[in-house]
Assembly symmetry: C2
DNA sequence: TCTTGCTACGATATATCGTAACGACTATGC
DNA sequence: GCATAGTCGTTACGATATATCGTAGCAAGA
């Protein structure tokens, strides 16, 4: 059930599966999965790391898909708006979603050593944020939950 | 036990008490609570809202305490490093700490309507982030927990 | 056909947020 | 006093994000 980005896995399947799933979802919902949007998703899927908008833009530029900031930001807005990618506030950067199945409230684990990011999932209304909100009479619309630290591989001494 | 920023309270006491407490802590620890650092803390305490570095800088400039970005960022670094203020990642902005007593892991409730921010407190190793981390073998060093939504006042229809 | 509404795209400019680097001054401990 | 570390002021720059204006394509309906 938990995401495997910290462990060895068939990453080509992450990429091809991710693109195919989003393509299918867009078709179902009548969303336009344009060339630029698809390319940005591929870029985000290329590693389990968060990427900055300008880093993405550099690749788009090399691909001849646009060279100005709005090109990247529009594609990222589309992807995040529809849940195909997430923004990592701590890093001012973006990552492909790894729980495409259904609406979800992600929790991110960010390794400060190898920069890999894992997306876990859990209901924010439970847990400590939900408790604090309830006590204050606060209505949560969006929750940012990002932990920074060391992944299993990077915390091993050797 | 919970912070009162969403409710009516004696806010002058927040300011004077906050400054006095930090002054005392700095004296105890041999930290230099300089004029600029004190002024930035006062600015952060002036409202229960997060403030951007440049917004703070504008005030410092008007006070004749410096006019260039590093002036504000250095004071903010000092305040956040020693736990007298916190950075709100979601807003790229800063807020005064309201739990000066001891080391703590804050949770922030951010009202998108009135911009007020409340700092609550709870152990991140418990709750859903801790659970996700444990399952992945991830060692948490720092956790960002920020909820965005509506405060009690702003969610009331009238 | 013509118009209207909508979505996406291109391009320029600007706003906002954050640091590197350097030299001068100042508090502190010896 | 002197050495040292900490602080400060400034210049310049880098990184991130949005505003604004204009255009192209497509589909629905008059
Ligand atoms: Zn993978
Ligand atoms: Zn790692
Ligand atoms: Zn107050
Ligand atoms: Zn409010």
């Amino acid at each position: 059930m938990t995401d495997q980005a910290f462990e060895a896995h068939d990453h080509d399947a992450c990429i091809s599966g991710g693109v195919a799933s989003v393509e299918q979802i867009c078709a179902d919902r009548g969303l336009q999965f344009t060339r630029t949007r698809q390319r940005v998703l591929e870029i985000l899927l290329s590693e389990h790391k968060a990427m900055g908008a300008y880093e993405i833009l550099d690749i788009l530029r090399a691909d001849g898909l646009g060279s100005q900031p709005p090109v990247a930001y529009r594609a990222l807005e589309f992807l995040t708006k529809h849940g195909f990618a997430h923004r990592i506030e701590r890093l001012n950067a973006f990552i492909a979603c790894s729980h495409l199945e259904d609406p979800h409230a992600p929790v991110f684990l960010i390794c400060r050593s190898c920069d890999r990011v894992v997306e876990a999932e859990s209901d924010p209304s439970k847990g400590e944020i939900g408790r604090a909100a309830k006590q204050a009479g606060f209505v949560i619309e969006r929750a940012v939950r990002e932990a920074e630290g060391l992944c299993p591989g990077c915390s091993k001494p050797a």
